[in-house]
């Protein structure tokens, strides 16, 4: 065919490495493509204008001098465009030329060259990543960013040596338009907003004051050095030039920070401060850069006071404007996703498009685009996540991560390649050295000074170790580089010096500091995240202390940040969420439950992979035979496979469990870590770029309230009935009437065989959500079709139970699902507790319960319950504004156990009724749930019609079963402290 084809391929293979892919980015300037239309297949376009010189192509020998002329820059939308073909008369031709005869195969290299190169580029970069990670040793020592830069350096060097071409650069335009947005989007969207806003003051301080200080100090100091004559005379720069340089060199770079800190795993607060700063300082950088750039171009003598004022004003416009743009787009995005129900497939697209649009809009308006995008991502997330389907969420998440990762890879690689280009460098040791020193010193000084101020206000002061890490973590990166490339050489005479210095600074910070920060962090023993697994004691105490502290703060009446957050949440709940979320989503409180679900599914998957040995957590070192035995009876894995549900998975465990580790420890840690209630401040405290943290607050609040209320009730009751006096526990019950006087006087003085009190214990006084509310929660919930499968923690016990029961009753084989949401879980609490813990204590004690007593007691409690008005305690009412609507006492669950004895014909099986009532308008999930629960219920009911018909022997085991379960409820559901204390009295 065409002569250069083979050669082309060869050249292509090498050249793809070096071609500035940005020039070929599909979305980029179409005119660029025309330049590619040469047989060598190498992109010649180099964006810094001065470097795209024709002679560069000589090495290829082919088509020398036939580089696309300016005429070829005519936008080419279609390769068949005659203009193009006419302007590229070389051996390669395509449809545009008059065909001599029909060609069987046509080589249309140019046709797809641009995108092809982009794709190859990305592939290469990604392959490089894989290579790096082949050796885990290398990547644990050397950050990926360093490796990428080195790779870039190497590739650039090869090209330089081979072709003498040095025009490959990280193109600022492409950088800002295509490479930076994915990273910002990812970090904004997955920003742990709570943590971020918790530290917003600090972050803002560092971002604004810190950057201002850094740039001005650096600029002035460099100027001073210049005045002192310590710099090469050829560095032709005045005060304004140095300030300009200072402004671009002083900004901490989000890309670099993210890349390095992500591998270091410092604690979240430290991370969020450094990272937040790097994001938010964009506004400052942009403004300073623009201001000084203009000043330089104007000439410093013409700058008047008004211009400074304008500069300050511009800062507010740029930062606030960027934020507003972001918020507006976040609003639009949230609103849009509310209506995508019938067009699920484009949901992810909307997310990307609108956030990207916010970025571009801000760019157009020359506002802070990073701010716009960050806030857009951060603010829309809550609503978007609630609105879009589960699948879309996954798509969004992975696409974002992938794109961010690719962009990061390419940026660092390009940084390396760019550095090779010495043509634009002019090295001055004085400038470089002093810049390095100043950058480092002023950063440290700034951090120390600001921290000193901040620590007077911060609840959690930053200690000196934090400060060291923050100073050391002030990495400069591609943003600075892109900005310095953007400088106009005709105006900024010292640009070449600045470029060289910037590259050096970037390399120094990313490579040297990036490399050494890990050992430093280790050496300083910076509190790191996820590195150190605390002992159980530490974990427990820490959590307990946090709760204590929170409580004391509440008692001391400290209102500050929390107060306002509460207000905001109230507003959000009342207006924003209603406006921006689908009704269903709004009602089911999706964030929590979706994350929950996601975690569960993920865990289930890995659980399957691991063959189910995780469940050993349930049989850890506890001599509870029943649980063990029933465990072995059921093949959990099989069940999981067959049912796709109903397996108990601890939320956190599976991720980290690795063979060879001390499994028990890990499991326990995770059980604890995953399930300990978090103190109010720490909800959502985890940030990882790769996982989404859960907002567990609401279900937690609910659970805790239920418990607390129950405890109060019980203590109240116990004192009232004088069943026993627990010394420290007597409470005041001024609001007797408010409290529901439920006649569970259930505290067992000591662990001895309980009189008929023991059953009372077991009556699960569960404070559940008001049923109306519940119904709302579930009814009308248009569930995503893809949410059918739910894994709920502690289902294992149910599986287990199932095994047990079926062995006893031979009733049901069908698997059952669990209540799919925390809400539901709570709702079904009695059941859950009921079954879930059955195996745990079928102890001799519990079997002594006398059924008749149970029966009577139950009747009593029922009647007493019925005589009461629908209850809301005063405390509960106070709490209504905080996500807990109505709390009421309901008695459910235990009836399942107690209903059986035939003595009570009039007894209504309560949860059956409730459930039935509810199921009428249930969404699919609820239906599933109902279905799944049915076997259970039927098993409960079956004996009822004719229990007498059964032989006593047949009945007894069952009743033991019940009794045991019932007594267990005490432990599980009520968590009454008294029982325990009673036992300690033993």
């Amino acid at each position: 065919m065409h002569s250069p084809v083979l050669f082309q391929i060869l050249v292509f293979i090498t050249s793809t490495f070096f071609a500035p892919w940005t020039a070929h980015f599909p979305g980029s300037d179409a005119s660029v493509i025309s330049e590619i239309l040469e047989p060598v297949g190498i992109a010649v376009e180099s964006l810094p204008p001065q470097s795209s010189a024709p002679p560069l192509h000589q090495p290829y020998g082919i088509d020398t001098g036939k580089i696309a002329s300016p005429a070829a820059r005519v936008p080419v939308n279609d390769i068949a465009d005659p203009i193009v073909s006419s302007t590229s008369p070389a051996g390669n031709r395509h449809r545009g030329t008059e065909p001599v005869s029909f060609e069987i195969v046509q080589w249309n290299w140019e046709h797809a060259q641009g995108p092809f190169l982009v794709a190859v580029w990305i592939t290469v970069a990604s392959l490089a990543k894989i290579l790096f990670h082949l050796s885990s040793k290398v990547t644990t020592v050397v950050p990926e960013s360093c490796l990428l830069i080195l790779l870039g350096l190497g590739l650039g060097g090869i090209v330089l040596a081979a072709t003498n071409r040095t025009d490959y650069q990280l193109d600022p335009k492409m950088f800002f338009l295509f490479l930076l947005p994915p990273i910002v989007l990812d970090s904004g969207y997955f920003m742990p907003s709570r943590l971020f806003f918790d530290n917003i003051g600090t972050i803002l301080m560092y971002a604004v004051v810190g950057t201002l200080w850094n740039s001005s100090a650096t600029g002035l100091a460099l100027w001073g050095i210049k005045q002192a004559g310590l710099m090469d005379k050829k560095v032709d720069a005045g005060l304004m030039d140095f300030l300009l340089f200072g402004s671009l060199i002083s900004a901490v770079d989000p890309v670099a920070v993210l890349a390095v800190f992500e591998e270091v795993h410092v604690n979240e607060t430290l991370f969020i401060i450094v990272f937040g700063e790097s994001l938010l300082n964009d506004a400052v950088t942009v403004v300073l850069y623009k201001v000084f750039n203009t000043f330089v171009e104007m000439g410093s003598d013409k700058v008047r006071a008004v211009d400074y004022v304008k500069g300050v004003a511009s800062f507010f416009v740029v930062s606030l404007g960027g934020t507003v743009v972001g918020l507006v787009f976040a609003f639009i995005l949230a609103l849009t996703t509310r209506f995508t129900k019938r067009a699920r497939i484009i949901e992810p697209l909307f997310v990307f498009l609108l956030v990207y649009l916010s970025y571009l809009t801000a760019e157009i308006a020359s506002l802070s685009s990073i701010l716009a995008m960050t806030f857009c991502g951060m603010c829309c997330k809550k609503y978007v996540e609630a609105n879009i389907s589960h699948k879309s969420r996954t798509t969004v998440k992975y696409t974002m991560k992938t794109m961010a990762s690719i962009a990061e890879t390419i940026i660092f690689m390009f940084l390396g390649i760019s550095a090779v280009d010495t043509s634009k460098w002019t090295w001055d040791s004085g400038l470089v050295l002093f810049t390095l020193v100043f950058v480092f010193v002023f950063r440290a000084v700034g951090v120390i000074l600001q921290t000193w101020v901040l620590n007077r206000f911060r609840l959690c002061p930053l200690d000196w170790i934090d400060q060291v890490v923050m100073s050391y973590g002030g990495l400069r990166g591609a943003v600075a580089f892109a900005l310095v490339i953007l400088l106009d050489k005709s105006k900024v005479k010292a640009k070449d010096y600045f470029v060289a210095t910037t590259i050096t600074v970037v390399f120094f910070t990313v490579m040297f500091q990036g490399l050494t920060i890990k050992p430093l962090v280790k050496w300083l023993k910076v509190k790191r995240s996820n590195q150190h697994k605390p002992t159980l004691n530490e974990e427990l105490h820490e959590r307990a202390f946090d709760h204590i502290l929170a409580a004391v703060e509440d008692i001391a009446g400290h209102h500050g940040y929390h107060h306002w957050r509460d207000k905001w949440e109230h507003f959000d709940k009342k207006y924003l969420s209603q406006l921006l979320m689908r009704k269903s989503a709004y009602r089911i409180k999706d964030e929590i439950w979706d994350v929950y679900q996601k975690l569960n599914i993920r865990d289930a998957m890995s659980f399957i992979d691991q063959g189910g040995h995780i469940l050993s957590s349930a049989k850890l070192s506890l001599p509870s035979l029943p649980s063990r035995m029933s465990f072995s009876e059921t093949s959990v894995t099989n069940l999981l496979w067959e049912n796709g549900s109903g397996v108990c998975l601890d939320l956190q465990v599976i991720d980290t469990v690795r063979s060879g580790k001390d499994k028990e420890d890990t499991v326990m840690h995770h059980v604890l870590a995953g399930n300990l209630y978090k103190p109010r401040k720490r909800y959502q405290a985890n940030y990882s770029r790769h996982f989404i943290s859960a907002d567990e607050q609401e279900w937690q609040d609910r659970e805790v309230i239920q418990r607390n209320m129950r405890c109060r009730l019980e203590s109240f009751r116990s004192t009232k009935h004088s069943v026993y006096q627990n010394k420290g526990k007597s409470r005041h019950k001024k609001s007797q009437k408010k409290h529901r006087s439920n006649d569970v006087n259930g505290d067992v003085p000591n662990g001895k065989p309980k009189r008929n009190i023991s059953w009372q214990d077991t009556v699960p006084v569960v404070m559940t959500m008001d049923s109306e509310e519940e119904e709302e929660d579930n009814s009308g919930a248009e569930k995503e079709e893809d949410e059918g499968i739910t894994f709920v923690a502690r289902a294992a016990d149910e599986v287990l139970l199932e095994g047990k029961q079926s062995s006893i009753l031979d009733v049901y084989q069908s698997p059952f699902l669990l209540p799919p949401s925390p809400t539901c879980t709570e709702k079904e609490l009695p059941w859950k507790g009921d079954q879930g813990d059955l195996p745990a204590c079928v102890s001799s004690e519990t079997t002594k319960i006398v059924p008749i007593d149970l029966q009577q007691a139950w009747n009593q409690s029922i009647s007493s319950l019925e005589s009461l008005p629908p209850p809301t305690t005063s405390e509960v009412q106070q709490l209504q504004h905080r996500t807990v609507p109505l709390v009421m006492l309901e008695e459910r669950g235990a009836p399942a156990a107690l209903a059986r004895p035939p003595l009570d014909p009039c007894f209504q099986f309560p949860e059956h009724a409730t459930a039935a009532g509810r199921s009428s308008e249930e969404d699919s999930t609820e239906c599933i749930q109902q279905q799944e629960l049915r076997p259970l219920m039927s098993s409960d009911k079956q004996p009822r019609p004719g229990p007498s018909a059964e032989s006593a022997g047949a009945r007894w085991p069952v009743q033991f079963n019940r009794a045991a379960r019932v007594s267990l409820l005490q432990n599980v559901v009520t968590a009454s402290p008294y029982k325990g204390s009673g036992q300690t009295d033993l």
């Binding site: 609840l459 502290l549 929170a550 009446g557 349930a618 506890l622 604890l672 300690t984």
Partner: protein, 200 residues
């Protein structure tokens, strides 16, 4: 003590509290206004009800335990002094500060006293040992419903095992200090500083 039902805080009282607790004057007055605002009965003392009215405490898993910690043994009321005495545990540890308190005894906000305070929250029967059951109760309070008793039991066992050095399967206070000391860091930071900075 109980006789001081007046809603005004007298200067000598402030002085006494200052001595005892180390709070500054402004902190005391601020906390006193908080105290009175909590005191719905307006009798100069707080009862459990008053505490329970604080909405945040209802969602605090350990809320009730902490409330109890405010009440001296067998009493249902706590006056401002007692209130302050308990809160004093949460002042930051001033290791470096010169101890302005003339008290010879250890200040309330010392490491030991803080830990003891925490220890008492576990140790319900006040036998200076945390038993498995006591631990289990606390665990149960702090853990979501998703954990079965089985699991909790094993956690409790392990926790005790971990901390127990003399092999009596109880956690004594000395053992507690060893395990909990590291966790005390945030303690020294959080509300301590809050109280520290309550100059408003």
């Amino acid at each position: 003590m109980g006789s001081r039902a007046s809603t005004l805080l007298r200067d000598e009282e402030i002085e006494e509290i200052k001595k005892e607790t180390g709070f500054s004057h402004s902190q005391i007055t601020r906390l006193y206004s908080r105290f009175t605002s909590l005191d719905k009965g307006e009798n100069g003392t707080l009862c459990r009800e008053d505490f329970q009215r604080i909405p945040e405490l209802a969602i605090n898993p350990l809320g009730d335990r902490i409330i109890n910690a405010f009440f001296p043994e067998g009493e249902d009321q706590v006056n401002f002094r007692g209130f302050m005495r308990t809160l004093a545990h949460f002042r930051p540890i001033d290791d470096h500060e010169k101890n302005k308190d003339p008290n010879v005894s250890e200040p309330l906000n010392s490491r030991n006293n803080k830990l003891l305070f925490a220890f008492r929250l576990y140790d319900l029967d006040k036998d200076d040992k945390i038993s498995r059951d006591e631990l289990l109760q606390v665990l149960r309070m702090m853990v979501g419903v998703n954990i079965s008793d089985d699991q909790l039991g094993s956690i409790a066992d392990r926790t005790i095992q971990e901390a127990d050095q003399d092999g009596d399967s109880f956690i004594s206070f000395t053992e507690f200090i060893k395990t909990a000391n590291t966790s005390l860091e945030p303690w020294a930071r959080l509300p301590g500083t809050t109280l520290h900075h309550c100059h408003c």
